[in-house]
């Protein structure tokens, strides 16, 4: 065991200098003993990927702006390119952030994509295609995606139930918009909300207790 004259302490772990005062210590390495293992710094490949991805996104935006101003200064198309890149970046970022829980990820993606499509629709003449087609489509796709994922991952009721309920609930929105009068093309919204309504009724009928406990858990105040 090693010893520091100044601190008057025995030193059990192996050090070149006194760990307390950084002074010279005496004694042999023999008899010293580590109590913690050497642990290498972890490298997360995901971080590098995200950095590269973010850089590429910014580069695409900048380059398209440069091309725009050099070759076609009269046409301001680069804003569309930049907006497109931002949308792709946001979706990817949300996807990565919520990667550990795919069902939660799906809910987030549904909401993000809905707002992105509203935005594009609004800035490209407000033809309401986001309400007519996008919203009902992602409504159905999300529910189907969740059913498939929970089957593949063999999730338990307490792991999927709340997301099923949220996705089913979001799927009822198209019929609300139809009723308010925003939706012009009716059949996608009717299909989506009808399907989601049945889905919710099914949950209530066949999984009543689980639905109720989940609601109680999630909403306890």
């Amino acid at each position: 065991m090693k010893y520091c004259e100044k601190c008057k302490v025995k030193i059990r772990t192996n050090h070149e200098k006194c760990p307390l005062c950084q002074g010279v210590i005496q004694g042999e390495k023999e008899g010293t003993e580590e109590i913690f293992p050497e642990i290498k710094e972890k490298n997360y490949p995901g971080v590098l990927f995200f950095q590269c991805f973010t850089f590429v996104c910014i580069a695409v935006g900048v380059v398209s702006a440069m091309i725009n101003y050099i070759f076609t200064p009269s046409l301001q198309w680069c804003f569309y390119a930049i907006a497109g890149v931002i949308c792709i970046w946001v979706c990817t970022a949300v996807g990565l952030l919520k990667r550990r829980n795919l069902l939660k990820n799906a809910i987030w993606q549904e909401i993000v994509i809905a707002f992105i499509s509203f935005g594009w629709d609004a800035f490209t003449g407000w033809h309401k295609w986001s309400f007519d087609y996008v919203l009902p489509c992602i409504g159905i796709v999300t529910v189907l995606f969740m059913i498939v994922i929970s089957m593949i991952q063999k999730l338990k009721p307490q792991e999927y139930m709340i997301y099923f309920m949220i996705a089913g609930g979001l799927g009822l929105l198209p019929i609300v918009f139809l009723w308010i009068g925003i939706v012009k093309v009716e059949y996608p919204s009717i299909l989506c909300s009808g399907f989601c309504f049945l889905f919710l009724i099914g949950l209530l009928l066949f999984r009543y207790h689980i639905v109720m406990t989940e609601l109680h858990k999630k909403f306890h105040i």
């Binding site: 601190c7 302490v9 109590i35 550990r100 105040i221």
Partner: protein, 415 residues
Amino acid sequence: MAKWRRLENAAKIFPATSGKRDSRVFRFSCELKETVKGEVLQEALDRAIKEMPLFQSVLRRGIFWFYLENSDIRPIVVEENRLPCSSIYIRDKRTLLFEVSYFKKRINFEVFHALTDGTGAMLFLKCLVSHYLTLCYPNVLKDKRLVSYYDATEEEKEDDGFQKYYQMIKGKKKLEKIHAYQLTGVKNGEEKFQIIEGVLSVKSLLEKAREQNVTMTVYLTAVFLCAIHKEMSKRQERKPVVLMIPVNLRKYFPSESCRNFFGWIDVGYRFHGEDSFEDVLKEVKEFFKKELTKEGLSMRMNDLISLEENPFLRVTPLGIKNIFMAAANRISERRETAVFSNMGAVNLPEEFAPYIRLFDVFISTPKIELCMCSYHDNLVLSFSSCLKSTNIERNFFRHLTGLGIEVEISTKLYE
């Protein structure tokens, strides 16, 4: 259906404020006299978790609060492969909130604070170690399992002590605002907590404390205060040095819960240049006498709970609540300079004594924290710190060796 339970009052802050700066993880280690066998430890863990199934839980988000849900994930023993006290709770990942690992002669039990407090964690480690030893030495320790050491029904183990002892008190005193002296300096980096621990004899320290007519905790609090004071400039002396001392509320409010049930007191001292150690000791002693009473602790406890009972706060969505709790936590951190956590003496049946050298505790911290734990005559004082500087630790241990007490130091430092 999986059982679930609310987080108890003191636990609510932990998920909201855990992160890379402070992982809110603490580790209890037991050092044996022989090298730990992984397979046997796994077997012991399987048995221990059956005895205390409460620990087999995952943390989940509700709309308004986090909650714990029983899980059937089997805890797996690993050879130590993470930095001490690095994050265990990872958002969205449904993993257990504790980990059992081993390295050479040490069995480590690391746990996220939302799951339990020091007392609960020590109960689990004791259970684990005693299973391990009985499995390792079946001939000698046959039937020596601690059948009666933890006598509580499942319901009692799950008790929320805060709810049990909460009383609405009107017109209560507010805690005064204090800005304590804050340590600054180069940090080790995210999730890197520097550990310096000293092993010494309980008897020798107790002797010194008795000479001054104080308890060991009071004595060490004073030593810690003075160790910090030595690093302060004249200008910094305008602010008091305040130590937060967690208190096991079970001692004051009977409860068998193995969940969080702790409070704390803040022990402060305003230095004026040349205060002698005896001056500090005297004031600390008085302070403990005054603060460490059932009334004082219940006042603080009620204060905390009444905040939780606030109807507006309760119906605020969790995401927003987390932001507020993190901010409130930062503000309340200003009240303290450092933390001194006393786990007390570990009791296990005498038959186990020949196989165990010591128990030791440390905890993640955004400051510097001293934990104390003793087993037989081995007292372990472990500092965990986010700062690179070792000055306070040096001052502290030099004070003890200056009294003629033998100290053996082990460390985990970062380059």
